[in-house]
């Protein structure tokens, strides 16, 4: 689609649903899992059978509070569950348990800071329950699987009016939010499995005007890329409609991944009148400061704070820091190595290159491998002190990764220490020059580039153990000699 004619400003609100990584459901003890045979993880409570009594899952409540704290929210010291009443077949009770109101949700009025320093206001973080799944039957008609009904669901909604103004920020917000959720262990973050779902609402208005335009809401976005493309598409679609004198409808639109465009969804509008009221089956939640402070003090340092610390204290680049912060295990592994008086930059280099490569090939996480933080410290020291060169370093790492042997032991056992003595190197240089007389002639004829080939041959003779700088220097000296 074409870029718009007039100048517009976009406002993007983000509504994110995260299935909490609990073992059991929100109000009953049916297990939580992905997939499986339909209707095998259900009980009278999550099927909404008469006479059943829901009991909230403590872990789910604490996960939401921890998320709210990570998102700089205020915590509702008194909070209740409401019934949101509507009829839909995937909702067994005729209502969804949720949390209504401005200051009743477990967390409210917070913010998330993007990597560029911009703060995105968070309006609320609340706890509710997921619905079942409606499926089409092979020979027409529809059926429902209630395995997902009652799974704890956290809803995170950005401020109104929205702070996000383009598709790039929308994606960045989601990337960072997902990182925090996974970091805290409250959600597995799998967008493709639907455990993290994002529904942005988008509106545009002419530059210089105040009133927000008519918004559309986007559904069916199941990757970061589709969120970015979807928001961009909506901004351009709305601009094109306004440019051509059309009017926009407030509507829900679906995202079509294959042709990268949005379409109006034929949703039978459930009347926007949910008759919220406090759920009489669920009694209030009351918290005090010591309880909240207990949860706060048990929180891990968050990725953004770590990134800033790595750059400040260890002199790492933003990019390198980010690579170490892919997940908590990797970051903690790195910090353990640094704590053993390892060189942070050297350890970082090993982690993001050789270690990452080998882990990726083996399909392992750092702790599952034979490598410990102590291995990295030793190898980084061997490299920093020029005891071995980087080529040998790779070899040593591969061996340590395979057997778990310590780098110092491997170097000693295999006699891999770098050779810095002139004697053996000069000998090899002479031998290489003698057997490559023709190449030497070309060098002396002005083709100085061939020196690299000769250096390579000498290194080969030294089985990679010669000090590379010294080899270069001695080859050049020998070539210049006559």
């Amino acid at each position: 689609m074409q870029a718009p004619m007039a100048n517009y400003v976009a406002s993007i609100g983000m509504e994110v649903h995260a299935e909490l990584a609990t073992r059991s459901k929100m109000f009953c003890r049916c297990p939580v899992a992905f997939g499986g045979e339909p209707n095998t993880r259900v009980c009278p409570v999550c099927l909404g059978l008469p006479g059943s009594l829901p009991v909230p899952n403590r872990e789910a409540i604490e996960m939401v509070i921890r998320t709210a704290l990570a998102l700089n929210c205020k915590i509702a010291m008194h909070s209740v569950f409401h019934r949101k009443n509507y009829f839909y077949p995937d909702l067994p009770k005729g209502y969804q348990v949720s949390q209504y109101g401005e200051t009743n949700p477990l967390g409210y009025h917070g913010w998330l800071e993007l990597a560029n320093g911009k703060r995105i206001g968070i309006r609320r973080v609340h706890l509710e329950e997921d619905t079942g799944k409606l499926m089409h039957l092979p020979n027409g008609g529809a059926g429902v699987d209630y395995n997902r009904a009652g799974v704890p669901l956290m809803e995170i909604v950005t401020d109104f009016p929205p702070d996000i103004t383009n598709e790039e920020e929308a994606k960045d917000y989601l990337v960072e939010l997902r990182q925090i959720l996974v970091w805290l262990g409250v959600c597995d973050g799998k967008m493709e499995e639907g455990s993290l779902r994002c529904e942005p609402n988008i509106s545009i208005r002419p530059e210089g005007t105040e009133m927000l335009g008519t918004k559309s809401e986007l559904k069916n976005l199941n990757s970061f890329r589709s969120v970015q493309l979807g928001v961009q598409f909506e901004i351009r679609r709305q601009a094109a409609t306004l440019d051509s004198g059309g009017t926009l409808l407030q509507e829900t639109r679906g995202w079509n991944e294959s042709n990268e465009s949005s379409y109006a969804m034929r949703i039978k509008e459930t009347e926007n009148d949910y008759r919220y009221f406090p759920d009489p089956d669920l009694i209030p939640m009351v918290f005090d400061d010591p309880y909240i402070e207990g949860l706060r003090s048990a929180m891990p340092e968050l990725p953004l704070a770590k990134s800033q610390r790595y750059q400040r204290d260890f002199g790492l680049s933003t990019k390198d820091a980010e690579r170490l912060l892919q997940d908590r295990e990797t970051a903690e592994f790195f910090e353990e190595a640094v704590a053993m008086k390892g060189d942070p930059k050297g350890i970082c280099n090993l982690m993001i290159s050789e270690f990452a490569k080998q882990l990726n090939e083996a399909g392992l996480s750092p702790r599952q491998s034979n490598i410990s933080p102590a291995h990295l410290v030793q190898l980084a020291n061997l490299l920093a002190s020029d005891t071995i060169n980087s080529k040998v370093g790779k070899e040593v790492f591969a061996e340590a990764f395979k057997s778990g042997a310590m780098p110092d032991a491997i170097v000693d056992e295999r006699g891999l220490r770098q050779i810095d003595d002139h004697g053996p190197i000069v000998e090899s240089v002479k031998a290489v020059l003698a057997t490559n007389a023709e190449v030497v002639e070309r060098y002396r004829g002005g083709q100085t580039g061939v020196a690299g080939f000769l250096v390579g041959q000498v290194m080969k003779m030294g089985q990679g153990r010669f000090n590379p700088q010294l080899v270069q220097q001695l080859v050049r000296e020998e070539l210049e000699r006559t």
Binding site: T22, R23, S24, R29, C30, P31, V32, E37, P38, N39, T40, R41, V42, C43, P44, L47, V55, P56, N57, R58, E59, A60, I61, H78, V80, N85, F87, Y88, P89, L134, M135, L137, P138, G140, G141, A142, G143, V144, D145, Y146, N220, G254, M265, R266, I267, K268, E271, D273, R275, P278, P280, I283, P284, M285, V286
Partner: protein
């Protein structure tokens, strides 16, 4: 305050109740009688009482996150009017 016939119709529609005109008229007067009781309560002086969100004074009754027993699928589906392929069969709904 009183309930109009229009409000009765609206709430009936939300609750998916198919009511005739006569039923709605009688519900309107019953609901108005009920609301009348609340009007009595509104005359009481409650300025010294904290608002209550619940009838009981307990709070924080929670369960630990330990998976327990479920129904078997046969049990779960036994009261379903129609079931097929392990699913509760429901009326078709428009979407997408």
């Amino acid at each position: 305050m009183s309930i109009s016939l229009e409000e009765v119709r609206h709430v009936a529609r939300l609750a998916r109740l198919d009511l005739g005109e006569a039923e709605m008229m009688s519900l309107q007067s019953e609901l108005n009688a009920l609301i009348g009781h609340f009007e009595d309560i509104q005359h009481l002086d409650v300025s010294a009482i904290d608002p209550a969100s619940h009838a009981v004074t307990m709070h924080n009754v929670w369960s630990e996150d330990l998976p327990g027993e479920c129904l078997t699928r046969a049990e779960a589906l036994q009261n379903a009017p129609v079931s097929k392929a392990g699913l509760f069969v429901v009326p078709t709904i428009l979407e997408g």
